[in-house]
Symmetry: C2
Subunit: 337 residues, 2 copies
């Protein structure tokens, strides 16, 4: 079923049909409009999106680009990503756009696909500042970067207040009397989400006269077995930690398990605080105390900014940081004197 056939059946030109489809009602009389609409609804005709896209150079497609590392898909390894994708999908669908999803090694892998499909906008998760720099030259469509730190003119980032999150996390442990504190995170450089959480964490510690040194930092990625090993290490460390701050809930759960394996109890012997507030926090045992981030808000702000750029055809520069908060559950206890 094509627009041509509709036009034929209605005895009008394709231009008229196109006009009623696109709501250019001032160009067509009420009478012919009725006639055309009748036939459209009778036949169940829908305009072909591909042809439309070719003609308009737009597509009503938004692409979401997710990093993955080695074997592990971020959104498989870490439920944070699936919650994020779910929220983005919801937003995009509400705008009557389609969502294309793609995992990539390097963000630049995607630029051809984006222009090739006339993609109207892209949302990148977890791109580094340098990747964004490379992207800026090649990328044609409006984009927003979730969980990135980048101050460049013309780039839109949406994230959370990671520094504050790290700070609140440590302060909660300190307020509970802990002084022997470990920090567990994936490897990080001197920028980005994890680095900011680390800065906040150490700054809070310093305020209480506690220094986080190299021996207090445990490097651990999202792979579950690795986080269990980290839990073992923390439990058995000569440092006799009474608490550990972790940069993701998933890892925190693994660490709790690793600690239990060594015969110590959470939170009685060692307190654990996570980050993200995923739904698994209430499933774990003990339920995980954590820093809560509002994933839905993140997706919504990213969507708002993206669609502003698309609709107003403008460039924006933004670095939104959404507030975080402490959610107390059962994995942090007062340190024994």
């Amino acid at each position: 079923m094509t627009i041509k056939q509709i036009a034929q059946q209605a005895g009008v030109s394709v231009a008229s049909v196109s006009n009623v489809i696109n709501g250019n009602y001032h160009k067509v009389s009420a009478e012919t409009r009725k006639k055309i609409e009748k036939i459209i609804s009778e036949t169940g005709y829908t305009p072909n999106a591909v042809a439309r896209s070719l003609a308009t150079q737009e597509s009503k497609i938004i692409s979401m680009v997710i990093p993955y590392i080695g074997e592990y898909f971020s959104f498989n390894a870490n439920p944070y990503y699936s919650e994020l994708i779910a929220e983005v999908e919801k937003y995009v669908r509400a705008q009557d756009y389609c969502l294309m999803i793609r995992c990539v090694d390097r963000c630049s892998d995607i630029v051809h696909m984006l222009s090739s499909w006339n993609v109207d906008g892209a949302i990148f998760a977890g791109a580094s500042a340098s990747e964004i720099g490379d992207l800026r030259n090649s990328l044609k469509c409006p984009s927003v970067f979730i969980d990135s730190y980048c101050e460049k003119e013309g780039v839109v980032c949406v994230g959370i207040d990671d520094y504050r999150g790290g700070y609140l996390s440590a302060r909660h442990l300190l307020n509970n009397g802990h002084r022997k504190i470990a920090f567990a995170a994936p490897s990080f450089g001197s920028e980005g989400v994890i680095y900011e959480r680390f800065r906040g964490f150490t700054d809070a510690c310093r305020e209480y006269g506690v220094e986080i040194g190299e021996k207090d930092i445990f490097e651990v990625d999202a792979v579950e077995s690795n986080s269990i090993v980290a839990g073992n290490d923390i439990a058995l460390s000569a440092e006799k930690f009474t608490a550990v701050g972790v940069t993701s809930d998933l890892t925190a759960c693994g660490i709790m398990r690793g600690i239990s394996q060594c015969g110590l109890s959470v939170p009685k012997d060692i307190s654990v605080i996570g980050f993200d507030d995923l739904s698994l926090c209430t499933i774990s045992s003990p339920r995980l105390t954590t820093i809560s981030q509002d994933i839905q808000m993140k997706a919504r702000r990213a969507g708002d900014l993206l669609f502003t750029m698309i609709r107003e055809k403008c460039e924006l520069t933004s670095n939104e940081k959404i507030a975080v908060k402490l959610v107390e559950r059962d994995s942090v206890a007062r340190a024994e004197q």
Copy 2:
């Protein structure tokens, strides 16, 4: 950058450029082929997918259609879906196709979008037999249905051996001496994944002379608070259950929490067995004994069948059931005498 410009620069016709792009090398001499390829790589030209799709009536797009109920996205509420999506994305990308994702109320919501984008194939998750029936008339592209039970000619289903899973689940409890057994599942009719698991479960019980009656069945959806309530109900029931079989790991975790809340211990007082074998099984406490399904295999088989239909331009009828197996962890113990 268009094919026209490439042709101009190379001093040949667009047809020749098109032929080298598409590997119709017999139609172009080695010499001009070199010339064209040189210019293509110099300019970094990529053919426009939209125009190509319009011309070929294909798109290299696969669509994945996910059900959601009310507020809850399946793949948000249940990590099973995100693992499935991750595997499908991987498969589709390996074939050099794009993946469009869409959550729907009713499967029929998607047919317009599929034809409008010339989508080459679709993967539906969790569609009911009647929905598939409706779809068959309107659907233009090859499709495979994951987790559906449908015997109709020309429909391709890929699932797991749910009956066997239910059977193994109950048998494991029975072999551990349990006789007061509860069954927790979302509401189900007389067909589909949950019903099959139920059949297997009750059949095994019957072999041991145990009847699962209405008072032994607890209806519970994926919402976490509901599963905790179910856990409470099971713990406090006058039936004095010593074990419960659950049709999803996520719900099983909530039920374990609900049981603990009532002061009972898993598995000491009540054993719990899940279904799916998601990664969260190893972070729950106790680690969840469950029926393991191979999600990667499921995605791969679905992909294989789908791409066979796409490439061979043929219709298939299939009802593959992938084997499941019991994975013993710590949430099932022997019943006390």
